[in-house]
Amino acid sequence: MKRAILYPVVSSLLLSLWPFFGAADAAAASMSASQCVRSMELLEKEMASLNSQIKACKKESGRQQLRVKLNRTMQKLRSTTRLCAGAAETPAATSKSGAAPANAGGLNLAGRSGAIAGLGYSGNPLAASGTPTSAADAANCAKSGKTGASNPKFDKLNCKFWIFGCSSIPDVDYGEVDGELFVDGGGDASNIDASDVNQGGIGDCYYLASVAAISRQDPDRIKNMMRQNDDGTISVDFNKKKHWWEFWKDDFSKKTVTVDNTFPLDKNGNPVFAQFGDQASNGKLETWVMAMEKAYAQFHGDYNDIASGGWPEDAMEQLTGKKSQKFSASSVTLEQFADWDKKGYAITMASKSSVSNKDVVGGHAYYYKGVDLDKKTISLGNPWGYNHATLSLEEFQKNYSYVAINPIK
């Protein structure tokens, strides 16, 4: 969201500077229009990332160094804009117009490259993540030995009436928990198990049902997304889907976010959002779902951005980097579910906002647990961690709107 605000500012700045860049530079001929767009977009992303790092940085000295970097990046962006001036007839062809230059086909710049490398852009995949782009940045910004991993806000979750604004949940604050990322609970097939998912006080059932669906089908997928760093922080890889107009990009790009081991707790020290999973024999409680939820909040901005519902098909894509498919609940069969399951798909479903079956939560996301082809029933997991449902196909079709599947691999 911050970047969305920054882009128009940057674009406006470039537009205002445009007349000073002069006529088309001869070097422009060495960059194709698409390279220009790509290069400028990367630089803008880097600027956006630096901006958010400055805001998250806890030390003035660290912020100062980041500001120097930001200025340097802005210089690079100006140079690139100058180089590209001849590659596009109008300033509207800059990257954040969101569209490729309309005249790209007529520029005849294909096959000429190298200018982007000359600009020295690092291409750091973390650049857009809001996490420090180097260990030095992390150290400069760290307070009490931690990295610059910031805590996503939850200050707008208590909205009674929109016109009177929103407030934070009372008596909730970040605190450390005595937990372990992964704990092998009794009866778990792996130390990552769908039964570890216990939704709390925010409306992110769509995400936690997706996490549970993937955990059930391929626990290693979740494990490979998460890394515990030496300083105790946890990095999680997500996949950002390209916008429809970004036709030159891959469908998904990796985005890593880093969170620390503190979570929103009530005054008694209990988590208020996602809950603990299993408990280890040494008494430590499992925190991987809480970390996944916090990371997802940071991936989207903060907890406010994920707390009011969403779509499991999108969440699964962000987790796996693979495209989801949707099917109307009224058209699916139990055999189809069994087949998808056998093929390794993560399967989620959304209930209708108004349901007739008392075992089903209305307007809620569930994950697939299994079918009994003899009894002709389907078992559905509630991301609450309890209140699971077993329904006949007819009841399922009556109470659910659609099914979303994701191939994971």
Binding site: G203, C205, D266, G309, K358, V361, G362, Y386, N387
Partner: protein, 120 residues
């Protein structure tokens, strides 16, 4: 336009009951909250006609709460309650103080441990 927003906000049905005893917990539709060893999920909020305790015809909101006692083994039970109603479950007393309807409905509960001897 502002008037329209005010009207829209004011049109959300709200049923309230007198304040009870116990810790106040607010839960939104489709989410859960904890009180000690108890988990409470708000499954649905519906609006319907019903007959009051004095036989009068009434119209109001009803919540479906799913309570889970995190004991061994865990036990869960669904309760359909209106404002002023109480669920007694494994030593906990869950009183419904307020129900808010609408797409983002919520319930305000007051919870206490029922029948627990006072601390000495």
């Amino acid at each position: 336009m502002l008037a329209a927003f005010v009207l829209a906000a004011g049109c959300k049905p709200v049923d309230t009951a007198p304040l009870g005893e116990g810790q106040v917990i607010e839960i939104r539709q489709g989410t859960t909250a904890n009180f000690e060893g108890l988990r409470i999920g708000l499954s649905s909020i519906s609006e319907s006609d019903y007959t009051g305790s004095a036989g009068e015809k009434k119209h109001g909101l009803e919540v479906a709460l799913v309570l889970l006692n995190r004991g061994t083994p865990p036990q869960e039970q669904r309760f359909d309650l209106r404002a002023g109603g109480t669920a007694e479950f494994y030593g906990y007393s869950v009183y419904v103080q307020e129900i808010r309807g609408g797409a983002k409905g919520s319930v305000k509960l007051q919870i206490k441990t029922a029948g627990k001897p006072p601390a000495k």
